[in-house]
Amino acid sequence: MKFSARSLFANALSGHQNWPEQFPNKEPKKEYDVVIVGAGGHGLGAAYYLANKYGITNVAVVEKGWLGGGNTGRNTTIIRSNYLFDESAGIYDHAVDLWDGLSQELNYNVMFSKRGVLMLAHNVHDVQSFQRHVHANRLNGVDNKWLSPEECQKVVPILDISQNRRFPVMGGAFQQRAGVARHDSVAWGYARAASKLGVDIIQQCKVIGIRRGADGAVEGVETEKGYIGAKKIGVSAAGNSSVVMDMAGLRFPLESYPLQALVSEPVKPIVPCVIMSNAVHAYISQSDKGELVIGAGTDQYTSYSQRGALHLVEHNIMSICEIFPIFKRMRMLRNWGGIVDVTPDRSPIVGKTPVPGLYVNCGWGTGGFKATPGAADMLAYTIAHDAPHKINAPFNLDRFVGGRLIDEAAAAAVAH
């Protein structure tokens, strides 16, 4: 059933009794052309693009929990593409292009809101670094504008731009095409669209092994629901990527860290766009429900516990109140943690692996949500062609051998 105002109206008259299942939960078939491990936005999206764009419909997505239950459902939904390096700008901007129009493509409103992302500069080093981004983005065709403190305040009227503060606003980089989306809807929308194209989504089906043939190539996955044959396997398991790659006998340059986020109680609109501050170390936006959505960096140690420490929350809130002292009377409603997999250069790995038939999309660290459609498309492309697209080709595993890292964070290095 197509989703539209008309179908909503028609179904209202029948008491909403006739809506079909959006994504039926299937039992596994014996074999698939492609098995995707991990039903987050990335994995479901890859299945959708395989079926829709690359003509491979005999696809299963297996998920140990429930779809969209990992980082897709736990992140702060920021979408932007104003990255410095050509490679990063390439993959993130491809994602932003896909975000725009995704609701219509999937016939599922993912509520991508181009409300803009403003990154605040608080010191001379920030200014130099953000200017470098703005110039590079302009010549790469990525919209990103440098704003004076006054212009920043025009975008965010509650911003205090007096220069005698501990962290003065010395300007900002603003990407208008950037923004937020409704995170759960992304997973559900891809799941529904993929299901319609014949993809089997199999939840509560933990992968416990990867079977390889005599030639070393993959043959299938062992799961809690039994063995599933697969000509090709795409791993999109976020925080658990190391665990899954280990099943194929591969050790990866990944570490998994807890990342926390929090929301306040809902209030009337006050934060017009996404605001990020590296120096103060926090970011904030306001959801369509009115909650302030707030996040910062990871805990210091690796963990799969999805349980973070209080002092990070304290610091996160302190940081937000440093930028916006008017929020001191707001109240934290909910605080939660996810697991992010981080590579040595904090850029993802999207492509082939040393094991024939095994493909991977991992290492997105704290930046995975924004890349969802782009990463999903690139994983699907690589699986379909057994070769990477030029957009994801640089994000290979070999870069760690030769040293051609894509290190956005190092490029923004704090020093003097």
Partner: protein
């Protein structure tokens, strides 16, 4: 905020006194070894990590305490420390770790 047993101070101290220092027992190859290593082998030393789900050998630095780096086995699923031990001690075997687990404390 976790409590971490520092094997030098021999007491449990609050996490914010410590800095996490990555996976343990990744010995730096000496000068001769370095020259014999291929780029691939060298990158393995630099970048490849166990990232284990379960008992993980890792280093901590008691930066705001006795200033010593030390090793620990911590379960990354529960965040519980199984054992902490001094720098230079060997990587505990799996059976040693399970023995400690049965013992139940640090």
């Amino acid at each position: 905020m976790m409590l971490i047993h520092c094997p030098y101070c021999d007491e449990k101290r609050p996490e914010i006194e410590f800095a996490y220092a990555g996976e343990a027992h990744i010995a730096r190859p000496d000068a001769a070894e370095q020259q014999e290593m291929s780029d691939a082998q060298w990158s393995e030393f630099l970048f490849i990590r166990d990232n284990k789900r379960g008992e993980h050998c890792e280093r901590w630095w008691h930066a705001n305490g006795c200033n010593m780096f030390f090793n620990a086995v911590r379960n990354t699923v529960t965040d519980k420390f199984v054992k902490t031990y001094k720098m230079g001690q060997k990587r505990p075997s799996a059976s040693q770790i399970s023995k400690w687990n049965e013992g139940g404390n640090v």
